[in-house]
Amino acid sequence: MCLALPMRVERLMTDELAVVELDGVRKTISLALVDDVKEGDYVIVHVGYALTRLDPDEAQKTLALFAELALALAPGAPQGLKERGV
């Protein structure tokens, strides 16, 4: 049940519809399941509907978490992560 992907809201239309875009591919979808979506927001699209707004701050935090792990890992220092409370 999981084929969904983040797409950028390009243009809001009437009837709770919007045009979303990903790398030059556009589709018209429904915003009936979400509130307060603005042009430029990213939404997760599944079977023609936006399921939620994607939070770009949280996305950056998650990516930073991956990168932080990378920094914490010195060769032969596996316990470094626990000490950092990550």
């Binding site: 990903l22 030059g24 591919v25 589709k27 079977v47």
Partner: protein, 350 residues
């Protein structure tokens, strides 16, 4: 006998509003008019003007190469081409994949009663333009008409004849461990362009089909590296299917690197949206080449110097493998097998 023929028909074909009817297939006057005013006029050459049921020609030296294709594509018209240009390019390419120079084509039409003459003219003109650009002559043909409901508008069968240098030995069973695998450009363009038109899957894209005649590129390639082992165009079933076919026929394994395969970002995005894998999507203007490792750089440069090979890349290598697996190193760092296609690639939701 070069006297101009007097027009024998009372009224010219109404190509704007006319429809194909059963008379056009009966072999009588209506058929003759269709052939003269539509086909011969468009494909115009000495052979056709004689209006024989066959064509004579002398062939240059070398081995004769023949290939045939049936074309049933729907929709008939798509961004970048139509069933006409597709059929001409497709058969030219089949002949070219032997390393051959394509010279002549034959065309068989099966038309459905009610098919608009305006569409037929567009298709025929498109075929004429494609053949002319490729310097290939359409020298023989046939036309039949089936009752309404018994055909999908139009089916086209093309057969191509060419000649290949005796010194070349390009076959699908010639790949050897150590060889390099190359592609001539971006994968998945045609299939995604077609899918974007499919009803109820509509998405908007600027993607066009990549349909093209590849024999010019091939001629360039065999000049630079006559030691090429395999050439194949990854049409139905895409790159994955072609690589599996070669691995199977040559009794080898193939290893490819995902990050080396050129794919347009729009194609990637469309495949993400529909849950499709670009490896299995049809291409109509691209080829896969397998050559000895020591020739691969020369071959790559030759391909990139040609307009149809500007995005060419080395994407992998041939290895010894008793299972004949095609294995891909993902951009993520893991490995997966690229198996044969099971049925039509259908979009999925999960």
């Amino acid at each position: 006998m070069d006297m101009p023929r007097k027009r024998r028909h009372a009224h010219a074909l109404d190509v704007r509003h006319g429809l194909i009817d059963m008379n056009h297939g009966s072999g009588g006057r209506a058929t003759a008019q269709l052939i003269e005013e539509l086909f011969v006029r468009a494909f115009d050459n000495e052979c056709l003007r004689r209006m024989d049921d066959h064509a004579h020609m002398a062939l240059p030296p070398g081995k004769i190469v023949i290939a045939t294709d049936g074309h049933v594509i729907s929709p008939l018209f798509f961004p970048g081409g139509d069933i006409g240009s597709l059929s001409v390019h497709g058969t030219i390419n089949d002949v070219a994949m032997a390393g051959a120079v394509p010279l002549y084509l034959t065309v068989g039409f099966i038309l459905e009663e009610g098919f608009p003459l305006s569409d037929l003219k567009k298709i025929v003109d498109s075929m004429a333009a494609a053949a002319q650009a490729a310097q290939v002559r359409i020298v023989a043909g046939d036309t039949k008409v089936v009752e309404r409901g018994k055909g999908d508008g139009i089916f086209i069968t093309t057969t191509g004849v060419g000649v290949v240098d005796e010194a070349l030995n390009i076959h699908a069973d010639q790949a050897h461990p150590g060889d390099c695998v190359l592609v001539s450009g971006t994968m998945g363009d045609h299939g995604v362009a077609i899918m974007s038109l499919r009803e109820h899957l509509t998405f908007d894209t600027d993607l066009v089909s990549d349909t093209a005649a590849l024999h010019g590129l091939v001629a360039h390639m065999v000049r630079a590296a006559p030691e090429i082992h395999c050439l194949r165009d990854p049409t139905r079933g895409g790159l994955a299917t072609t690589l599996n076919e070669i691995a199977d026929l040559s009794c080898v394994g193939i290893r490819i690197w995902e990050s080396a395969i050129p794919i347009r970002s729009e194609v990637k995005a469309a495949c993400e949206l529909l849950g499709l894998d670009p490896m299995y999507i049809a291409n109509e203007g691209k080829l896969v080449a397998i050559c000895p490792r020591e020739r691969s750089q020369d071959l790559l440069e030759a391909m990139r110097a040609h307009p149809l090979g500007a995005d060419a890349a080395i994407i992998g290598e041939v290895v010894a493998d008793p299972h004949y697996f095609v294995e891909m190193e993902t951009a993520f760092g893991g490995r997966r097998v690229v198996d044969w296609l099971m049925g039509d690639p259908l979009p999925r939701i999960c």
